[in-house]
Symmetry: C2
């Protein structure tokens, strides 16, 4: 049985989307509206995906901000660009709802991960393409249907940020349209906060928020980012892992050497780095760095129950991903993301393939990302890695070693530390948490709740700095190639997402301000 077939079967068994008649009025209105406006929604999406959106590409990132501003203003949203020198602007929007005392802030980000066009089918990540299915399932490019014609919900839209994270922006815009078309009132004051450098690590987010305390004030931040469960069931996530990274460069001879004339004599930096990395994890993926798991904040009873109830997708995923084994001593994926992780996200030394040459490389570089959970500070986690490297006999430098340094130390490594941020988690036991679960279930039926996402968004700014409950409501498919080439969005996920966003926009006055809402 092919994995796709297995997955379809699982979806039939597990999915419990209610019929429109069982949905809340807001979700049902969104459902009906979408069915008659698919072409318009997708056209708007295509315009947005056509704008290159790597955070460092300033002219294009500003074109994204300008288009999103226009799309919000067309819906009567009062907008502002929140600027910080050297940063892409935050696109901020606001709707005052008559009689509402409370405010929900919807967060999303409009920038995307860097791209390697040569790895994209079609060669251009910013030429969005509709396909009849996922590429892996033989999806073919298809033309945009005429207005009024239906879209197959299993079609996929390919392009950078189709899922991560422009889809929620489009879903919110369509949900606003649907509510207005059906004269359904918003449930509270609404703010939109669309960031432009999340994939670059949100280096200015905290500063921008600090500069605009009034705009950032609300009773609830809703983070619209990340994928739904691998079964395609809706989930709500109450936290996110923190993240940081390091780039490690080990030095061999000052120049590449002929491997024949110097082999056996000149130390090989690729081998040195391989040996160093091999000391960091055991064969089962457990991190061997001293103290790496120290300080982790334990889960509450509700959180443990949520994990126990979460679907176990591991066997299905292993099949989909072609893996005969996973790491983590038999624990399931949803449990393992409640631990910090250390990952080699890239390794490079000299060349492989057609340009391989018989040399002893001069340097070898690996880049690591660390994912962090509540109780582990990102600076401390990096410090533990660096301390481990020192214990392996390395002299650690922060820039290219000079000749004196080279001659003084047999093993030299350059460590470039990235910025980062800590994990955050909002309690599932808050009143506002129960309200959000109720609203989303009114659109999508029984949901999965998880204490944390495996991925990272800088939730600490909202939970720890602003002291505001923060809940993540993802909408996109898990198999979207997020962060890689050929990123895509399954249309049904967008359709469902519009209903979820409509239900949240119409949700009545989320729980009063809760300074103890974080844990």
């Amino acid at each position: 049985m092919k994995p796709a077939t297995l997955l379809s079967l699982a979806l039939l068994l597990f999915c419990s989307t209610p019929a429109a008649s069982q949905q809340s009025p807001a979700a049902a209105a969104a459902h009906a509206y979408r069915q008659t406006h698919e072409r318009e929604i997708i056209s708007e999406f295509l315009d947005l995906l056509s704008l290159p959106n790597v955070a460092s590409d300033t002219p294009n990132i500003r074109r994204n901000a300008a288009l999103i501003t226009r799309l919000l203003e067309q819906r009567g949203v009062k907008t502002r660009l929140l600027e910080e020198a050297g940063a892409p602007p935050v696109v901020y929007g606001e709707i005052q709802t008559p009689g509402a005392a409370h405010t929900i802030i919807f967060y999303a980000h409009y920038d995307g991960q860097p791209v390697e066009p040569v790895k994209w089918v079609g060669g251009d990540p910013f030429k969005p393409t509709l396909r009849s299915a996922a590429l892996e399932a033989g999806g073919q490019a298809i033309a945009l249907p005429e207005k009024g014609q239906r879209f197959d919900p299993e079609w996929r839209l390919y392009g950078r940020s189709a899922s991560d994270d422009k889809a929620p922006i489009i879903a919110l815009l369509a949900a606003l349209d649907a509510l207005r078309a059906n004269r359904i009132a918003l449930g509270s004051n609404i703010k939109f906060f669309f960031e432009g450098e999340e994939e670059a690590g949100s280096p200015h987010l905290e500063k921008i928020i600090a500069a605009h305390p009034d705009l950032a004030r609300g009773e609830l931040w809703l983070i619209c980012d990340g994928p739904v469960d691998q079964t395609r069931r809706q989930q709500i996530v109450f936290g996110a892992r923190g993240v940081t990274g390091l780039e490690l460069t080990v030095y061999g001879p000052r120049r590449e050497l002929h491997s024949g004339h110097y082999g056996n004599w000149a130390p090989n930096p690729a081998m040195m780095l391989a040996r160093l990395l091999s000391t960091m994890k055991d064969d089962d993926g457990r991190v061997l760095i001293e103290g790496f798991y120290d300080g982790i904040e334990p889960l509450s009873e509700t959180e443990k129950r949520a994990l126990a109830e979460a679907p176990e997708n591991d066997a299905m995923l292993r099949r989909e991903l072609g893996l005969a084994r996973t790491e983590g001593g038999g624990q399931k994926l949803v449990e393992l993301i409640n631990l910090p992780s250390l990952n080699i996200r890239g390794f490079a030394s000299a060349s492989v393939g057609a340009t391989a040459r018989n040399v002893i490389p001069s340097t070898a570089t690996a880049t690591l990302d660390l994912r962090l959970v509540k109780g582990v500070d990102h600076r401390q986690a990096v410090a533990r890695v660096v301390e481990h490297i020192r214990k392996q006999g390395y002299h650690v430098v922060a820039s290219e070693p000079d000749q004196a340094t080279r001659l003084a130390h047999p093993k030299i490594i350059k460590v470039i530390k990235e910025g980062g941020y800590n994990a955050a988690r909002t309690s599932m036991d808050l009143e506002v948490s129960r309200q959000v679960i109720g609203a989303v279930e009114s659109a999508r039926g029984k949901v999965i709740t998880l204490p944390t996402s495996g991925g990272s968004v800088p939730l600490y700014i909202f939970t720890d700095t602003l002291k505001t409950p923060t809940i993540c409501v993802p909408i996109v498919n898990h198999d979207n190639n997020q962060h890689s080439a050929n990123e895509n969005l399954r249309l049904q996920n967008l359709w469902d997402g519009i209903e979820v966003m409509a239900a949240l926009l119409a949700m009545k006055e989320p729980g009063s301000r809760a300074p103890t809402g974080t844990k």
Copy 2:
């Protein structure tokens, strides 16, 4: 003291080039001729270096062959292109010397290693540039001097194959001119055998030689390839290491995964490969693969004495290369190249630097080269590596694993074996060996003799298949960036090389045919 200064000091101490008056007539004639023809020699060299010469670049490789043919014919050499389907031609040339009964065959190769233009200063490996010194010593591009003006012998000529291996071809051509201008007779029949795919592993050399047994017949093959000693002293090398290679690809998930959502769970192929490679060598560079050092043929007394007398350049080289340590348990470089070696010549998985993304890579690839010595068969050496990989729990495949293979095996590696060849060594105790030493010393004074080069040339074809003594006479500088970007030639090495080639061309009737000349 800067390394360049130290090196200069060492050169003053060690170099013992005789004054022209102490040289043989042939070498002295070459010396005088060169002094008045530097511009012409370099102009011819620039033309040759301007032709791209990667073996797989058929149209350009044929342009190289055509130019070399023309240059030989201009000197009255009778030429032929030796063709084999799919191979760059061998440029063959022949001079019958009246009264000569014996024949010397001069081997060189006109193809070069693949290039990565972006790594070359100036961006074009085939736009040869004269520089005032090595780039590392601040060398600046300088214009070609006018005819009659002298060239500083410390200038360097930058371009792919400036050293490896077009320099000996130019040296031979200039030496022929010098002998003719001074009416000095050749000492025997001369053949030129210039190969066009040595850097691609000489896959057709054996076949081409087998197809032309008469042309390949002679009393001595002289291999004009490789660098002289790091002290810049002339050396003569009586063997070469064999070489082979493997490309290893370890498989992780079918597609790159978000490191947050799947970190701790999906095995990381870069980490798996790092762990695998780390089992292959210890921290001192000793290969841990079972049987790797088995079968090595011991050195003779003469060979051991030669190694003991060889200069110990290790401290100087460590300084030049910025290395605080070397591998090999304290043995010196000239000794260590008499052992087989295993080298990581490249490693790649996902991306580092500006295009790094937070992913679990889908694959990781490392490419290894093995250097072999007499007594170790290249196929057996590769088999030992593969057996070692199996012992680490890997399922070894020869092509991309399919889904069934992926799901059946927790650790999968694709091993692509390259072609290769065995090491060869000619005894230093043969009469012809002593003659060659004498001729070269008549040009350059006391020489260093070594049982083997660290690098590889397919000498086994001459020694083992043709049963002909084979001796390597290198001329280029060791610090030539051979096989890397910014390859270069120090002009003094070319000037000296012309004198060496003239002495060898004039050498009288090398020892009679010696079927036992190899060991």
